[in-house]
């Protein structure tokens, strides 16, 4: 019951939530920021080790509670699926195919950039997934966490924890305002398989299309559900081997270039 008794963390969370909800959503240029983002930033400032407000233990408690709050978030999103079950079944092909985009997208955009910046095998661990808990377990199982791949996935995990949600919210807000992709498709894009990242990218999309908010939430949740059911298998049998293959393939070109530069 140690976590439950950590009144310091709960009280701070309550104060942060009330303050942020009191401020409400604000729009800066074409990006709308939501109370959840200030909550994360203010919470992050409070947790700065230099301020000595929270101990390491308090922070570990906060992170355990976060996993519990996610259950309530998923329950809230889940009750949006039931009433829309017919629409979801109608879009089943899109829901299945967009997962290909989810799983290939991280590698296609992330891996070449990582290699261009000079990363080694770390790039494989960093770019094969969005690096949430199950992804760490998969890399740990195949390469071990002390390997370059393990360091890559761990670094990405830290980045995702620190600013994944903030970045997704800004990106989704920006792309939704461009108005070139249908909100349903954006909703499926938001279902990345991480509860907090999905929530952060979903908010600006449903705020922009309030009349379709119910459908948008249902599609995103359905996509997220498929990501989390199939995810673990796709990561093991497709993503990680494909990232590794693409690394070796690109590395050959890189080496050739270096060698030819030396020769000539």
């Amino acid at each position: 019951m140690e976590i439950l008794k950590d009144y310091r963390v709960h009280l701070l969370a309550l104060l942060v939530v009330l303050l942020c909800e009191f401020i409400g959503s604000q729009t800066i240029w074409i990006i709308t920021v939501y109370p959840m983002l200030y909550a994360m930033i203010i919470g992050g400032i409070i947790s700065l080790p230099k301020l000595k407000i929270l101990t390491e233990k308090n922070m570990h408690h906060a992170s355990s509670i976060m996993l519990i709050t996610l259950m309530l978030l998923i329950a809230k999103l889940g009750v949006g699926i039931g009433p829309k079950i017919n629409e979801i079944l109608h879009a089943k092909m899109a829901l299945i195919f967009q997962e290909v985009g989810h799983f290939a997208g991280t590698i296609l955009l992330g891996l070449p950039l990582a290699m261009m910046l000079g990363m080694g095998r770390e790039a494989v661990g960093a770019a094969y997934s969005v690096a949430r808990e199950p992804n760490i377990a998969i890399v740990a199982d195949k390469y071990g966490l002390d390997s370059p791949e393990g360091r890559g996935v761990m670094s990405m995990y830290v980045c995702g924890t620190l600013y994944g949600a903030i970045w997704m919210s800004i990106l989704a807000s920006f792309i939704a305002k461009l108005d070139i992709i249908h909100p349903y498709a954006l909703a499926m894009g938001a279902g990345v398989g991480s509860g907090s990242m999905m929530a952060a990218s979903l908010a600006p999309i449903s705020a922009l299309y309030p009349a379709m908010a119910g459908d948008i939430n249902a599609y995103a949740t359905a996509a997220n559900l498929i990501s989390s059911i199939l995810g673990i298998y796709i990561y093991i049998f497709f993503s990680l081997p494909f990232a590794s293959f693409l690394y070796n393939f690109l590395a050959r070109f890189k080496r050739k270039k270096i060698i030819s530069a030396e020769v000539y």
């Binding site: 009750v79 039931g82 967009q98 985009g101 991280t106 969005v130 924890t161 997704m168």
Partner: protein, 150 residues
């Protein structure tokens, strides 16, 4: 057993914080907010207990919660209309804020680790997060068109 009880108490505590945020941010009656959160707490507890069963342990708790929530709100469930009506009293945004508040409060412990990582991971991570969102949205756009949904 102790762990299960603690999780249930924490769910209730967080639900109260969410209800308070719902009242302050979106002017919804506090009792109505508590009622909505009560339903979500029950759904979460059922999903959580299922995830503790021997065979069901293999899949994450989040998955079971979401299956239970989808089931009780779908037309096959006798209570579906009640559940949808009650839970609509709490906004999605109000539920998200405490999630990220707790995430923020735990950031400090990861900062030391972050400082040791090369700067290169920052652009790479932004590309990875953007890639999964953009590629999936593009594929969905094409297939939704093809299915005639949009």
């Amino acid at each position: 057993m102790k762990h299960i009880l603690e999780t249930i108490f924490l769910l209730i505590l967080v639900a109260i914080i969410m209800a308070a945020g719902n009242t302050v941010g979106y002017n919804i009656n506090f009792l109505a907010s508590l009622e909505a959160m009560g339903v979500l707490v029950i759904i979460s507890i059922i999903g959580f207990l299922i995830s503790k069963l021997p065979l069901f342990k293999k899949l994450p708790v989040i998955l079971w919660v979401s299956v239970v929530a989808a089931f009780v709100s779908s037309p096959i469930s006798p209570l579906n209309e009640e559940i949808v009506r009650i839970t609509e009293q709490v906004t999605l945004l109000a539920v998200c804020t405490p999630v990220l508040a707790y995430a923020g409060l735990s950031i400090g412990k990861d900062l030391a680790l972050f400082k040791r990582i090369s700067w290169r991971i920052i652009p790479v991570s932004l590309a990875v997060f953007s890639g999964t969102f953009i590629f999936a949205a593009l594929v969905a756009q094409m297939t939704l068109h093809w299915e005639g949904v949009i």
